[in-house]
Point group: C2
Chain length 367, copies 2
């Protein structure tokens, strides 16, 4: 038995044992040069396989070939990263052939990455790269060990005297601390902006917006309170003690997407002694109808508030189901003389928009 | 509409949109104090749901309740971390309620973590923690950007003068660079051993064993060659330039599980000028039948070889499908006067064993 034969049978045995499949590994998704995409799923037994992807109005039927491989070709598709899944006889599954998944507490999706002829800012390009660190810290307030992801910019490890501003960036409901890394592509967006001189080198901390980890029933208030206690009392002190940060309000930003945007705005606006830069991506702070009560002290002296806030950036898509509240929140800020930068884009409550907002606002931070 | 009501409906809307489910989130797996575990899966439409978990001989049927939730109670189970999945009418799925997944190029599994009354070395305990960094580096040899995960021990960021030995640790076939982190729990195993004074503080680099990322057909030799070129020509120089390493052979180890063990042994034994510590977890170097040819220069002068190798650690389970070859490789080493530390455990080709071997051998490294 030749060495290569042993190795190959070893590889196939393990792959076979692991996947329960005996056919040659499929390629899916196959992104072609013209931005059309072939999706494939192998099943002899299934009677219906659908492709479910965010830009399609409804799931698309896939067709079964003689080899038991279901497939469908879609596009050309506008280059971007799209979450998708298959529905096999009604059962939602990730694409078994695709190792890039959407980290989430609940739903299980794969990621389609269409790079296109002109690379987007979210692409992995040949520029100096920062790294993303998974950090574990003692949360005295919650009596547990917390985890946060920390992007350090290119050169952080070798420029051992330089200190950096910090942006706290929070994912949405049911997302985890990994989502702004793996779906949001925070690291590549910043690597590319920094390489082009369009963003300041900064540290970005991605906390877990749901520090209790799972959804205990009826605990929305408790989660909100727990997150604030952990962020202000444990995570920020840990980051300032561990990384070479500039530990003052003028060098600290907070932002987030969806529920994470709400958490960012609520914590930011009530702690302007700690944060001078605020970013809201498809979100709003609490109930906009109660804006005047919730933020009475801020609107009592808008000139002072405007002086404290270096940047108040808000973006939302006009098809987003949160658009009415996000727009109302923007309007209330304007009516009360609070200065903001607002961006109404197309599209809905998607990570395609979340990445665009991050890219646009990151260019303005710490300048 | 109260603030809490808005927030709750926001959370439920997003969860609902994302998961396609409208019922309250399930808890699954539910690990009870007596180490029994309840698995749950919600489906009104399914006609059969099975639990597939490595310690069960065959998949276990789950039973449907009046609420459309399928469940089964298993155990008590010996505390450890086990990969599992559900089979819904023949379709393999991760547990939708469990965010802890098994990173892999192909198969999609969830992770069951039974902590038990006495915490294992792989548990997240209240000790000083290292961090795990996702690093991107230019691979000149492969003309691409590579990624590797890098564990830095507790205190690395604050002891800015200390330098550390480095262990290169490679996952198995179809695993990714994330598998030794998320399934192997390299960081917690080392955190706990270091806290107890049982292991030297070290940096652990977890490369991607399949640097071409996917399985191009018939490319086993090419993958092997590509991995070596990248490891020796790009990754090691990058790590030594970026981290505070002790950059010599006496402070550099290489090891791995399954195919990663093969890669570790092959690269290590042919580059003893770069590595003095070798670890094989459920693996063997190439074809043991050709041992005398492959390693002629090493066995020509076993005394010199033994002087060069500080530790040659090999472990395998007696139910492992690779046991015959791994055992034959151990025997060939012994017959040729090469000194090793061998460990024949129970169990098969599992990550339960891979973690145990890492824990045992890490205690011996760099001492």
């Amino acid at each position: 038995m030749k060495k290569s034969t042993i190795l190959l049978s070893l590889a196939l045995m393990i792959a076979g044992v692991a996947s329960g499949q005996r056919r040659a590994p499929l390629v899916s998704p196959e992104v072609r040069n013209d931005c059309t995409v072939v999706f494939r799923y192998a099943s002899d037994a299934a009677s219906e396989v659908l492709l479910d992807i965010q830009f399609l109005g409804s799931p698309l039927p896939m067709r079964k070939g003689d080899d038991g491989v279901w497939s469908v070709t879609v596009g050309p598709i506008v280059p971007d990263i799209y979450p998708y899944s298959f529905r096999v006889d009604g059962v939602t599954v990730m694409d078994p052939s695709n190792p890039d998944y959407f980290p989430n507490e609940r739903h299980k999706g794969s990621l389609l990455d269409i790079k296109g002829p002109q690379p987007l800012t979210q692409a992995m390009l040949n520029v100096p790269h920062g790294s993303v660190n998974y950090d574990y810290y003692l949360s005295r307030n919650l009596g547990t060990t917390g985890r946060a992801l920390v992007y350090t910019p290119p050169g952080y490890d070798t420029n051992s005297n330089k200190r950096y501003p910090v942006f706290y960036l929070i994912s949405g409901t049911t997302d985890t601390d990994e989502t702004y890394f793996k779906v949001g592509r925070t690291n590549f967006i910043l690597d590319n902006l920094i390489a082009q001189g369009l963003a300041e080198p900064m540290i970005i901390v991605m906390p877990y917006g749901n520090p209790g980890y799972y959804f205990p029933a009826g605990s929305e208030e408790r989660r909100t309170a727990d997150f604030s206690k952990d962020l202000l009392g444990d995570l920020i002190p840990y980051i300032d003690a561990t990384y070479r940060t500039i530990a003052d309000r003028k060098s600290r930003a907070i932002g987030g997407f969806s529920r994470g945007g709400n958490q960012a705005l609520t914590n930011g606006l009530h702690n302007l002694d700690k944060f001078a830069w605020l970013c809201s991506y498809a979100s709003f702070a609490g109930n906009p109808e109660q804006f005047e009560t919730s933020f009475a002290s801020l609107i009592a002296d808008p000139a002072r508030t405007n002086q404290q806030i270096e940047l108040f950036w808000l973006g939302v898509g006009n098809e987003d189901f949160l658009y009415p509240n996000a727009k109302l929140f923007m309007d209330k800020l304007a009516q009360n003389g609070i200065r903001t930068v607002t961006r109404i884009s197309g599209g809905g409550h998607t990570w395609m928009n979340a990445r665009d907002y991050l890219e646009e606002s990151a260019k303005l931070l710490f300048k």
